[in-house]
Each structure stands twice: as structure tokens, then as C-alpha cells.
Amino acid sequence: MMNWNLKILFLLFLLPWGVINCSLDVKKAVAPTNPPQVEKNIFSASQVRGHYQTDGSPKMFKWPVDKWNEDKTQLLPMTFAEKVQARQTITAYSEEVELYTQEFTALEKEINLKYENKLKELENRFLTNQCYSFCDPDSLFCDPEDSSVLIVDDWKLPENEEETLAIASCQENQSQRENISEDFEYEINEKVEPLRIKAGQAALALLQTVGDRNYFTELTSFEFFFGPYECSSNKGCLLSNEVESDKIYIRLQFGDLVLTNFDGDSGDLRVYDVGFDPAQGFLVFKTPAIDFENSQSIYGEITYDLELLPGLGVLRADGDIRVKENEVDKEFIGRFSSAGILD
């Protein structure tokens, strides 16, 4: 009787209980996911090996965080929306500058190429035909032997029919080249200059939006050397066979003040904590913050957090800066951007 009941107990209660518990195991959680992906392999270290130098002055500024009151006597902190508006405007102007600069640079190159070929062809013909020898011997600037002369001011009187034809051909050549130069100038003035002016206007508007107090107008040059270089404060930078692995050297110029991390540089006014990730093109370094109004007094530190962006014939170095100002115990975030070339 006892065993029979125990079996019932087991079968009717424990066994179903076991089955229920086994079937209630935690299910594997599954959620769909497809986040946006960043395009890979758009950077290669070989694209940035060499000596980089900015073409023109780099832009460096702190994002505006305050604004003048109506009578311009007091700076008031900006709201979040105002900060967004300021960055939006600055970004738009910045893109405008970049766009117009790219456009006029490309157009200028195209126009140059277009006229350069024609001009070169005519100049070659001018030299081949020895047109320089047909200058007027009585003229002060005439040297019939000077093959570098491409413009003849006064032509000699032809001595025979053959010479008449040759001089006429040379005059035609010179006239064509003058016309080409005029066309070139005209096209530059009509097509390139308006873009250059627009770029200049956008740059000015950018400067006005950023504000003088936030713009590092003294920054005139940014250079780096990446590769088998040896840079020292007294000898400058040289390629060296003795360098086993690539090195990175930085040179920044604020007005007359030059800051580098070259070997032998010491003291407070230098570039330090340089880090370069060649696989990504990320460049990080620091400099002391400098108050240019009060000569060279140091009041903090600037951290440059840049990335190298190779483009068509141009290498950009853009990124954030963090300006720590000890006097006010604040950190400001800003922007650094430069366009340059590698040689």
C-alpha cells in the first residue's frame, strides 16, 4: 500500500513538475539590429607619408559660447539653441568657403591648363621660327641672339619677301598669344574671381560669427613630417637612412612664435604628447595655450585631436581642439582645419 501511494505521488506530482520546469527554460533573447555602417578602407597611411604644409593659414577657433549684450558691454552665456545656431552658421560658412575654394581652385587649374597648352605651342613655334631674331636692331632691348625672348616690341624691316612672310608669321604668333593672355585674364576675372570673392566673403562672415575673441588669428602655418625623418631644432628636418621606423614631427607657427616637437626642443613653448595612428590617420598632440595679447604668457593647454583626410590633390587636417584656460578654470572646445599638400 505504501509503495503504491509513493508511486502515485511521484507520478502525479513530481514528474509533471519536473516536465513543467524543464519546459520553462529561459529563451534566448533575439532583437533585430542593423545600425548604420561607416565605409571602411577609406584611409591609407601611404597617403600621408611625407612633409605636409598648409596652403594658406589654417583655421583655428573656439566654438562661441557667449554673445554680447545689446550695447556690447557685457558677454552673456549662450543657450543650447543659440550654440546650435552659431555652429550651424559657422559650419555652413565653413562649407561655403571650402566649396568655393575647391571650385575656384579646380576652375583656375582647368583654365590654366586650357590656355597653357595653346600658349606653350605658340611659344615653341615662336622659338623654333627664331622670331626673337627679327627684332629691330636699332631698338634698345633687341638682342637677336637671345632665344629666351618671347615678346618682340619692335620688329625689323624685312629685307626680302621670305623675311616679310617670316616676320608676319611671328607677329601673328605674338598677336595670338596676346589674345590668348587676354582671354585667359578675362576668363579668370569672369569665372574664377567671383568664386574667390564669394569664398572670401564666406570666410569673413565665418570670422565675424566666430568672433575675434574666439579666433586664433595668429596661427599662420601647420606642418608635419611623417616618415623616416630626423628633425632637430638646429638642423631642421632631413630624410635619414638611419631611422628604422617612421616618425612624426609637428611644427606650428603662431605669428613669430614657432612650436615644434623637434629633437632638442625643450622648455614650455613646444609641441608635446604627440600621438599618431597611421592606420587611421588620427593625430593628437598638445601645446601650451598662449595669450598673444600679453606676449607669451602661458595660461593653459591646447589639445589637438585631428584626423587626416586625403582628397584630390589636397590633404586636409581637421579636428577638434580643447583649450584649457587655467585662469578661468574652464575648457573650451573648438575647431581646427587646414588644407595643404604633401611633398
Binding site: 506530482f13 529561459v26 533573447a29 532583437a31 548604420p36 555602417q37 550651424q88
Partner: protein
């Protein structure tokens, strides 16, 4: 909709399956008027087993527990969750320059949360007199949670990320890593611990039960049961969105009246009505920004909390089998819990009120059980031990803000 639903839901489950503290839970017994004879002791072991996958939300709709995480997210919403102001300013400025409205949908967040809970309830009871029995139980709560979250971005977002990456790989990498799991990003930005799989076993709130048999006659019997819940359990970590804590950290006092009315030798009607007072206390809590935005980095370390009182009533029918060895029963339970009330001085009243949103509960539940008792066989010297085993299943079939997965229970009792 808010992530707090899930927290509350878990709290209800883990706290109340045992003691009815915190929030309403599916019934796992029918109640009885039986008390132990004087000097007799009883050792019971209850096992409660369930999963937590679904619930009835505030609009009484049956939905998944992770539903509050499944949201359409606009650019504005994504940016609002970002704590890096510089990145936020840059992205918002770029979006405005591209003419992208912050209200445009950037993608959808998804989550799946599966939970398995097993509660072991060892209980000791003692017949102090022939009419009064005292008992105590300390639950041991095992929980296993598996969580996965995801984000599906729109084609426009992919295009924007591609455009941005041409200008700044560094910043775009940062954005990409944040978009990989927007739920995790938002939690991290607001100082929460990561939402992750957890498997743990914890001690729950201790419950002391006193049952007094007020009347026992041929026509009916009546008992009054008092329960005191002692906050012995670990309480929810304020830095976790999902924390299967088995206690809510405050004392409860419950009173229940149980009638047992025999209809004939086979059928009994069992009716139970009760009220549980949840005493107010001082508790740290995350302060929701609003009713719609529950996740917040703000914490009030001294908020006054008053969890809503609960009331319940059930009506069941028990059928005794031959020789009273087997019995079968079923009951219907209606339960109601008041809205939680929070007050404090550190934040606006609206934010304290938001803590109580969707905490009012209503439950209609059914419970079925079958029991095997050797007590009569023992009395007739036909079985060496007086044992009682009950296998039951309860399920909420309608309600508001209550979970609705079946709760299986097995009770094994020995008397000595």
C-alpha cells in the same frame, strides 16, 4: 511608454508572488481555514515556476514585456539621450545644415527580454493552540534573464553617416558606436549599468503568518490570517533599469478572511477576501523627466514612497475525491492595487507624480489545483507519514499592468 514598466513588472513578480508585497501577482493557492492542532509542526516546501514574457499593459492590452523598448526614434530623441554636448551640438548643427528635421525618424530600437523565475519557499508552521497557527517563510528566488537589444537605422541615417564619414571618420566612428546599440547608449549616458543577461539566486522578504480559526462548524468554518512582510530582501539597484530584486524594502501588513463552506461530502466553497497595507518609507529613486520620458540621470536619495495598498477577493470550489486522498479545485481571483505615491522636495511635483504613473493594477485570474493527501490514510494507520502535495497553475486572463504568464506551483507539506 517607459522602461520602468519592466522594472515595476519584475518587482511585482519577485516581490509579490511570495508575499503580495509591492504589486499584484498571479495566485498560487486557494486558501483554507485549516490550522494545525496544538503542538503539531509542519514543514512545507513550495516551488513556484514561471517565465516572464507577457503582460497586460495600462490599456489592458496583452503585450510583450520588452515592448516599451521597441520604439521609433527621431533624430531629436537620439540627440536628447546624448550626454556629450560637443557631439550633440555638432550633429544637430550638421543636421540643420542638411535640412533634416529633428522630428524625422532615424530608426527603430528593439529589445527582447526573456526571464525564467523559480522560487523556493520553505515554510515552518507550528500549532500554538488548536485555533492559532504561526508560520514563517523566507523565499529563495532564482532568476535568469536573457536580454538582447538592437537598432535598425533608416536609409537616410545610413546616408548621413556615409556623408559624415567623408568629413570626419573620427566623429563618425563615435556616432556609429553610439548607434550600434541606442538603448545601451542611452542607459550609459544617463549613468545606468548596462542592460545585460543576469542569473542569480537571492533571498526574498521574510513573511510571518498568523492564522486564527475563528469558527468551525458543520455548516462553515472561518479563519482570519495576518501576514507581516519583513524587508529582508535585497532591494532594486537604482542604477539598473532591470533588476530582479526579490524585495521592495518596506514593511507590509495583511489581513485576510477565509470562509470554507461545505456543500456536501464532496464539494466545498472557499472564499477569501483580504487587504494589504504597504507602509510608506524613504527610498532612493531615479526621477523621471516626465511621464513620457522615464529614463533619467537624476536621483532623489530621500524620496517619500507609499506603495499602493492591495485588496483581493477570490471564490473557489474544491472537490474531494474518494477517501479524501485526492482533491481538485479551481478559483477566480479579482485583485486591485492602488497607485503608488511619491513625494519629495528635491524635484518638481510632476516628476514625483510621474513615478506613480501606470502603477495602479487590476487583475482577473484563474487558478486550478490538484492535491494528494495522506493525512486520512495516516490517521487510519494506512500510511506512515501525514503528507500533502498540491500541484497548481494560476494565470491572469485580464487586467491592467499585471503579468500574464502561467505560474506553476508545487507544494509539499509534511506534518510532525
Amino acid at each position: 511608454m517607459s522602461l520602468k514598466f519592466w522594472v515595476v513588472l519584475l518587482a511585482w513578480l519577485y516581490c509579490s508572488s511570495v508575499s503580495w508585497a509591492g504589486g499584484l501577482a498571479t495566485p498560487f493557492s486557494m486558501g483554507s481555514t485549516v490550522v494545525l492542532p496544538k503542538g503539531v509542526r509542519s514543514l512545507q516546501v513550495n516551488g513556484l515556476s514561471t517565465t516572464v514574457d507577457g503582460w497586460y499593459n495600462d490599456t489592458r492590452v496583452d503585450t510583450g514585456v520588452a515592448e516599451p523598448f521597441n520604439q521609433q526614434l527621431s533624430y531629436g530623441r537620439l540627440l536628447k539621450a546624448e550626454s556629450d554636448e560637443n557631439l550633440k551640438l555638432n550633429v544637430e548643427a550638421q543636421l540643420r545644415n542638411k535640412g533634416v528635421s529633428l522630428d524625422t525618424i532615424a530608426g527603430n530600437s528593439y529589445a527582447d527580454i526573456n526571464t525564467r523565475v523559480f522560487i523556493t519557499l520553505p515554510a515552518l508552521a507550528y500549532g500554538v493552540t488548536d485555533r492559532f497557527t504561526l508560520g514563517v517563510t523566507v523565499p529563495i528566488v532564482y532568476s535568469n534573464i536573457d536580454v538582447e537589444t538592437g537598432f535598425v537605422g533608416s536609409n537616410q541615417l545610413q546616408q548621413l553617416v556615409t556623408d559624415f564619414s567623408q568629413k570626419s571618420r573620427k566623429q563618425t566612428n563615435a556616432i556609429q558606436s553610439k548607434l550600434r546599440d541606442v538603448i545601451a547608449t542611452e542607459l550609459a549616458n544617463k549613468g545606468y549599468k548596462p542592460l545585460e543577461a543576469q542569473e542569480q539566486t537571492q533571498i526574498g522578504d521574510m513573511v510571518i503568518v498568523g492564522k486564527y480559526l475563528g469558527y468551525k462548524g458543520v455548516d462553515y468554518s472561518w479563519a482570519l490570517t495576518t501576514t507581516v512582510t519583513v524587508p529582508t530582501a535585497h532591494v532594486r539597484d537604482v542604477n539598473r533599469v532591470v533588476d530582479p530584486s526579490p524585495g521592495d524594502g518596506q514593511w507590509d501588513l495583511g489581513l485576510a478572511s477565509t470562509f470554507n463552506i461545505p456543500l456536501n461530502s464532496q464539494f466545498n466553497v472557499v472564499s477569501q477576501t483580504g487587504y494589504i497595507v504597504q507602509f510608506s518609507d524613504i527610498r532612493e529613486t531615479r526621477m523621471p523627466i516626465s511621464e513620457e520620458e522615464r529614463l533619467s540621470s537624476d536621483i532623489d536619495y530621500g524620496a517619500n514612497r507609499d506603495l499602493g495598498d492591495q485588496m483581493f477577493t477570490s471564490l473557489g470550489l474544491m472537490m474531494n475525491g474518494p477517501s479524501q486522498v485526492f482533491s481538485f479545485g479551481g478559483s477566480y481571483t479579482f485583485a486591485y492595487k492602488e497607485r503608488d505615491r511619491w513625494t519629495g522636495v528635491n524635484y518638481s511635483g510632476d516628476r514625483y507624480r510621474a513615478l506613480g504613473v501606470e502603477t495602479e493594477q487590476v487583475m482577473h485570474a484563474a487558478y486550478l489545483q490538484t492535491s494528494l493527501s495522506t493525512i486520512n490514510l495516516y490517521r487510519k494507520k494506512k500510511f506512515p507519514l501525514p503528507l500533502l502535495a498540491t500541484l497548481g497553475v494560476g494565470k491572469a486572463f485580464a487586467g491592467r499592468n499585471v503579468r500574464n504568464d502561467p505560474l506553476w506551483s508545487l507544494n509539499m507539506s509534511a506534518f510532525f
